[in-house]
Amino acid sequence: MSNNTSFITLLSPMIIGTLLTIVALACISPSVSQPYASTDTTIKKISLPASTISLPVSKLPGYNLALQKCTICHSVDYIHHQPPGMDQKAWTSAVFKMQHSYGAPINESDINSIGAYLSVVYGTAKTDDPKIIEASKSTVSSSLSTEIIDVQVLLTNNGCTGCHDINKKIVGPAFKSIANKYKADTDAISKLVLSIQHGGSGKWGSMAMPPMMNVNNEQAEALAEFILKQ
């Protein structure tokens, strides 16, 4: 973890010290404001530190699903910094809320499987509870069961479009920039298939790409081909 990844860029130095000219005024509110000098730059830019917390490793199938689905919209600390002692029912309904209220791309069997995993690693459930085994069994992932490969559907269901845009950087690099970087690389497809399935960070910056374990080889190849064509 490095604190240096966080900094602020200003095109001209911030004027401070003017603080001392502000006088505590009487209790009329709102009161007339004392002027203050503000920055005379027009562009203000920040860069944010990446998350350093990862999901606890487990053999339960919900682990791989959570790796892929639960870091699309937010960092893992949303999950890690929850109360201890929550049971399978509570965790499963927390996961259900992600689908129901926020449109997380997960189906009912994903919800049960991820809920089972989270209640084992963070809550009161045990790996060998019959209910955990039952909830973990039914995992037929939405993307594994897709027979026809539709790149647009894959991009949406796996949350790729939340982090990638064709033309501009969001959390991850623009697909155009990726295509550009690998345009002379004859091995590009297999490299990108690996990147998609295993995720990673450091090639484009400090933000991490979640591993997409449930994207099979054929689907990952289709995605890589699509990206390289941009």
């Binding site: 509110s29 007339v32 404001s33 004392q34 203050y36 910094h81």
Partner: protein, 414 residues
């Protein structure tokens, strides 16, 4: 004692207390304790929350990193009545947040049921009227959620998701009047530059009643404690709603829409589905049950804290000790702040300090003397001019919102 500088960010009240010398405050282990316990008594599935450094911020407690959610360590409230910009808490909901803002491109758009839609640059906004100031508390609806029992899902905050600042801007109504609000207008909707990651997630938008929006209180602010807003607190423009919970104080404000209909649809989620309280007298419910009706959270209930001692401190017996702290409410005005040093059996009236305005933290202090050695419980209870008094026990709701029960601090007297 009149000391304007006392409320500026650099001055530490604790330092002041030490310099004053006359009063004995035992060498307190409390700050060192606070430095190691970033959870401030809140247990978490994943263990301790780290301290982190974000742009324009000192080390703050990490709640979430993407999007950033940072809590102010409680010791900061012992430094000054005004919360310094670099210590002010940060809260986002959606991870697609702006990281670069160009004032040559930034515009606030005002649209909907208005005579004339507006596209205002920050400069145009600043020259529309004389700027005004208000000192007001911004407290997160979920401040202290980590103490909710039974526990609830959500950001497990201790007491540091609040802050008191001097906000500089122009009244919201100046802009609404310029646009010409329709006589049929019902609500005003506020949207900022932060966006959801997936299009299936609701955008973060908040609504104010038209009457409230046209009242003198809400401000469109660019200044915070005499500087531009820190980026993570909503640069370049933030909606200030004095007396209301922080959820209404929309950051990176970019769009104001006047509605002559109800606010509905996917993007009304954070107004109509989240941030709800049971719609009954206590705004509460028995754990495990569900309310028949809910209503959006709104104003701040009366609340108070002791800021210069905390749990586990050791204090000397039979010596005068000056306790200090803060109280605040929805702007009705703090009436009394009472202190008990015997676990709530008897109460003593404290002296209220400088009044920076009815929406500000109000400082209080009281010299007490602990008669006996051993464990003691110090409690603080505020009441306001509207007749509200802090309750002894916290009530419960599903969101873990609006905690304002009397605070108790367990100490050792030697």
């Amino acid at each position: 004692m009149i000391d304007n500088k006392k409320h500026l960010v650099q001055k530490s009240r604790r330092q002041f207390l030490r310099n004053a010398g006359a009063l004995a405050l035992g060498v307190s282990p409390l700050r060192s304790l606070a430095a190691t316990d970033n959870n401030e008594g809140v247990s978490l599935a994943g263990g301790m929350r780290p301290l982190v450094k974000y742009p324009e911020k000192r080390d703050l407690i990490l709640v979430h990193s993407r999007p950033p959610h940072l809590e102010t360590p409680f010791s900061v409230f012992n430094e000054s009545l005004i919360t310094p910009n670099d210590a002010f808490y940060v809260r986002y909901h959606l991870a697609n947040i702006p990281t670069e803002i160009d004032l040559n491109k930034y515009k606030l758009s005002v649209n909907g049921a208005v005579k004339k839609t507006l596209q205002l640059s920050l400069q145009e906004l600043k020259s529309m009227a004389d700027p005004v100031d208000v000192v007001a508390v911004n407290q997160c609806s979920g401040n202290s959620r980590g103490y909710s029992l039974p526990r609830v899902f959500g950001a497990q905050l201790s007491n540091g998701a609040m802050g008191n600042a001097r906000w500089t801007g122009i009244p919201l109504r100046t802009v609404l009047e310029k646009a010409g609000v329709s006589p049929e207008a019902m609500y005003v909707i506020f949207n900022g530059l932060d966006k959801p990651v997936l299009p299936t997630t609701p955008d973060f938008k908040k609504a104010l009643n038209i009457d409230h929006a046209l009242s003198p209180e809400p401000l469109l602010a660019w200044g915070m404690n005499g500087e531009d807003l820190p980026f993570l607190n909503g640069y370049p423009l933030k909606l200030i709603v004095p007396g209301y919970f922080g959820t209404y104080w929309v950051k990176h404000l970019s769009e104001i829409t006047v509605l002559d209909t109800e606010f509905t649809g996917q993007d009304s989620y954070f107004m109509n589905t989240a941030y709800q309280l049971p719609d009954n007298d206590c705004l509460c419910i028995t754990p495990g049950s569900t309310a028949d009706k809910n209503r959006p959270i709104s104003t701040l209930p009366v609340r108070s804290f002791i800021t210069n001692i905390s749990a586990g401190d050791t204090l000397p017996s039979a010596k005068p000790i000056e306790l200090e702290g803060i109280a605040f409410d929805d702007g009705s005005g703090i009436k009394n702040v009472d202190i008990s040093i015997d676990g709530g059996m008897t109460w003593l009236a404290s002296t209220l300090g400088e009044n920076l305005g009815r929406y500000s933290f109000r400082p209080w202090k009281l010299a007490v003397s602990f008669p006996q050695k051993g464990n003691a419980i110090v409690m603080v209870r505020a009441s306001n001019k509207n007749g509200e008094v802090q309750p002894l026990r916290a009530t419960w709701n599903h969101g873990g919102y609006r905690r304002h029960a009397i605070e108790s601090v367990a100490i050792n007297v030697t």
